[in-house]
């Protein structure tokens, strides 16, 4: 059997992201929930902001899809990407359903207009989304490494932590029902890196992109944590670009 060229790199990226996954700014939200300080209003803020980010994935993946060419990657890589788009859309629907189910908003239109559901350009959420969209001009393997072996691992980490302490069954299920798909996205990322990343400069690009995605996602999580817990926002955009050898 042929050895997969990117096997070690995938393990390295996964390991690095796992190390960070339980020390994100969402730990403050998990602690608040554990101490019984997470109620309906906090849930509304959390789901509202997560729904807003999920909506942005239509924009991110739209850009990424344009960057795929016939013959540049195997059909299986493209199938996995389309599967991921579908899953992300499901998560967007889950969050909107929850906003409606809890009667935090009465209509879809109201959800778009509510401050918790609005997209603002001067936000860490936008920064993270634009940063991911910006990867549209990179090889698909690089951007999938960034998202699935970077931000997605952090996301699964805090979601598992939060689901353990949430007492509201509906809210808990919004997260637990995503676990299979989230794990599958991580496995997709692992497979794509293992199979498609063989050259040293591609590996360096993956390391760089993964670091950028983790950094920007953590900025979003800081903003999210502040919004959920009603704290003054402390997020400041880090304007110094990361370089490949940072």
């Amino acid at each position: 059997m042929t050895e997969l060229p990117g096997k070690e790199l995938a393990q390295e990226l996964i390991q690095k992201s796992r190390e960070e996954s339980r020390s994100t700014p969402m730990e403050a939200v998990i602690t608040a929930a554990r101490e019984g300080k997470f109620h309906g209003e906090e849930g509304f803020r959390l789901i509202g902001r997560l729904w807003t980010l999920e909506r942005l994935f239509y924009y991110i993946y739209g850009g990424w899809g344009q960057g795929l060419e016939i013959g540049d990657f195997s059909p299986s890589v493209k199938y996995l990407f389309s599967r991921q788009i579908m899953d992300e859309s499901t998560h967007e629907m889950l969050y909107l359903d929850m906003l409606l189910r809890k009667r935090w908003v009465r209509t879809q239109k109201e959800a778009f207009q509510h401050p918790y559901g609005q997209f603002a350009i001067d936000s860490a959420l936008a920064y993270h989304a634009f940063s991911l969209r910006n990867l549209a001009t990179y090889p698909h393997s690089v951007r999938i490494a960034a998202l699935n072996l970077g931000a997605k691992i952090l996301e699964l980490g805090w979601m598992e932590g939060l689901a353990e302490v949430l007492t509201d069954e509906d809210l808990r299920s919004v997260f637990t029902s995503q676990f299979v798909e989230n794990r599958s996205h991580i496995n997709m990322g692992r497979r794509i890196v293992e199979e498609c990343v063989s050259k040293p400069f591609e590996a360096e690009l993956c390391r760089w992109a993964c670091k950028v995605a983790r950094r920007d996602y953590c900025m979003f999580l800081q903003e999210l944590s502040d919004v959920v817990l009603g704290r003054e926002p402390v997020v400041e955009a880090r304007t110094i670009p990361l370089r490949v050898n940072d």
Binding site: T90, M93, L94, D97, L100, R101, T107, Q108, K109, D170, S173, V174, S177, F179, V180, E181
Partner: protein
């Protein structure tokens, strides 16, 4: 009143019912909070037989049925096919 349910053996999860229902602001079709994330119909929100919009857009024969009788409603039989382009007040 009769209610609707989705037959998951036949449903292709194309989500047209979800979109149509959401556009009318009935929000009766929802994503189930389980790992398969199948679509379900909330009988408390669904106004069938007043609204039948999901039946009009469903492409999979027999995938939406009357829960009580098991009657296939896709494609919609002539006696139940009436739906509105504008939201209905419920």
């Amino acid at each position: 009143m009769p209610t609707l349910k989705i037959d998951h053996e036949r449903c292709t999860e194309c989500r047209m019912c979800y979109l149509a229902c959401r556009e009318l602001n009935l929000n009766a079709v929802y994503v189930a909070l389980e790992p398969l994330h199948r679509l379900e119909i909330d009988p408390h929100k669904c106004t069938y037989p007043v609204c039948t919009v999901c039946l009009a857009y469903c492409p999979a024969e027999g995938s939406i049925v009357e829960a009580e009788s098991g009657r296939w409603l896709v494609p919609p039989p002539p006696d139940v096919h009436r739906w509105w382009l504008k939201p209905v007040s419920v």
